[in-house]
Symmetry: C2
Subunit: 352 residues, 2 copies
């Protein structure tokens, strides 16, 4: 706003620097450099922790920077170096608390390392994911954390062209060299089905909403287990495309009941919780009349009547490990294990 450079009553114009008409008042590398009697380049190197700076100098420069309140300008840095300090994290949905836990862990690790998580929500839609990538990639994120391995062809192209390091979450890739941290959704689905079988159940209905890739992998595990036991029956699969919710769980429960089941495996705990409440409303005995199992061990599952048998998924560790792997990739370090299987845990409670 001040178009003239005549004396103004503003703070203190950095001594020795003439003020242009575009002066921002910001403390820059040049200010710190001047205070130390070195060049801006040396300050830049010292503050970024590059080796080739005289040991004593580094401390002197750091002190001066602190003193002056110097804060590097991320935009200038991004423009000059062609990468920002942001990491783009794409998750399907925040109303599934699974992903909230994941994000917390990711943020924790990245923030400590000086990166900011830029969060995007795809709503389980690969087209939306592609749009987000198209919008966010120009910000030149230093790294990418994507949920799942399935992306649209357009997204794959953008990813390849960007050359930004990327770690995939929740699933495990078959292709060597694709960084990923997760567990086998298929095995987990099979294991909890085997648990129901071990309890003597034979007519086990698979109840699913939000038919994303991982849900279908769990379905595959369910089928594998039933085929093993020789009791697979295709008519016992309820695959509904709607987003999951407790209300949908109640509806699925009723639809499943019509199939005369002795057990139900819900693809996510929220629908399982809704089913449990519906059973209570209808006066149906769980697990006496029908056993129930869920997936993910979300908040509240241990509080239900009866408490819900489920698979505990290691989303916090997935977030943490994936962020750490990404940190290594961004630094250009060698990564030994680019495929980390964190497993899962069968949690047997009273509902089965």
């Amino acid at each position: 706003m001040a178009h003239s450079s005549s004396e103004s009553p503003l703070p203190a114009p950095a001594a020795g620097r003439t003020r242009s008409s575009r002066a921002t008042g910001r403390i820059t590398l040049a200010d710190v450099a001047q205070a130390c009697g070195v060049s801006a380049m040396t300050v830049s190197r010292a503050l970024r922790g590059e080796r080739r700076v005289a040991p004593g100098l580094v401390e002197k420069i750091r002190a001066a920077a602190d003193e002056l309140g110097y804060v590097p300008d991320p935009a200038a840095r991004a423009l000059a170096s062609q990468k920002s300090s942001q990491v783009l994290v794409l998750v399907p949905m925040l109303s599934n608390t699974l992903f909230v836990d994941l994000l917390e862990a990711v943020h924790q690790v990245l923030f400590k390392a000086g990166y900011q998580a830029l969060i995007g929500v795809t709503h389980y839609d690969t087209a939306e994911e592609e749009l987000l990538l198209r919008t966010y990639l120009p910000l030149r994120p230093a790294g990418l954390l994507l949920t799942g391995l399935n992306h649209s062809p357009g997204a794959e192209k953008l990813l390849a062209a960007s050359k930004v390091p990327c770690v995939h979450l929740m699933e495990l890739s078959d292709r060597a060299g694709t960084p990923c941290v997760g567990f086998s959704q298929t095995d987990a689905g099979a294991d909890i089905t085997r648990h129901l079988l071990a309890g003597g159940r034979r007519r086990i209905v698979f109840c699913a909403g939000q038919l994303d890739v991982r849900v279908m992998q769990r379905a595959e595990g369910y089928r594998n287990a039933l085929r093993e036991a020789g009791v697979y029956d295709q008519t016992l699969e309820l695959l509904w495309p709607q987003p999951t919710s407790m209300a949908l769980g109640a509806q699925l429960f009723n639809a499943a009941l019509a199939l005369k089941p002795d057990a139900m495996f819900f693809c996510n705990d929220d629908i399982a919780q809704g089913a449990l409440l519906e059973a209570l409303r209808l006066g149906i005995d769980v697990p006496g009349q029908v056993a129930l199992a869920g997936f993910n061990d979300l908040a509240g599952s241990d509080q239900m009547l009866p408490p819900l048998t489920t698979i505990r998924t290691p989303r916090q560790s997935i977030g943490r490990e994936a962020a750490q792997m990404l940190l290594q990739l961004m630094r250009g370090d060698e990564v030994e294990q680019t495929r980390i299987d964190l497993g899962y845990e069968l949690i047997v409670r009273k509902s089965s």
Copy 2:
């Protein structure tokens, strides 16, 4: 990596541009300008929709930009203009689905307008909020969306110094000119308490966890209503500092039971849901023996046994309206209403 500028097998070097050793291969304003036979300035203005560009030219330039696949560089733009296209949004916690709904609405509005939401989580801690501001403000967000009106003195200082437009969410300020979108937490707390009183209840226990500012405002409303009715009793307040959860709700319910109550008002639906389940476990009749009420109308409250009486809070509208107000502030438009009261709704269900 290519240090020489001799002929390379790369795409197509922009005709007429000599390639420096730092060439990024990116399509720039200059490329579009050259294709149209105008200056980069004119392209910049045309693409940003500034008026003073010849009408025909604008379309020609847009076409050329599309053709070439030009995407503006946010870092360069931020550096030159001193502001980015990001909006910093700070919420207390994502495990409270209230804030997930809020964020969805905010994102929707901002994204359409060409802004990206940069999400930060404060964990109900003003020191953490200040740290986030300190870290994110250098990114020069174009705007700020902060939950609540209470910030640390340090944060207030940063905000004032940054001069970034800011809208506060969820609460209403007394100070004129402080942009805010929310509703009266106090009135809402009073109204649901009056509803319980109207049902003949007299020993109403206030059960709270996560004692943030808004919870305490609801407590104040509760007190007001009880004093009006002449039945205020300080010993009926359970103010627990722990984060809320269904498990905490069960504990609060038991602690409240010891006070021989005829009703309980929970400061958030998650603890109310936990309490409802505990009542079921203990075989306590709700509302026969004790009435229960919650706050926020979160997912699942309508599914409980019995369904939960609560206050429905307009978080989606709050997010939408706040984002729209911020958009106006960022454009420098005049804002008529800087204080928007969106109210709330008493939802009476079977628990009371």
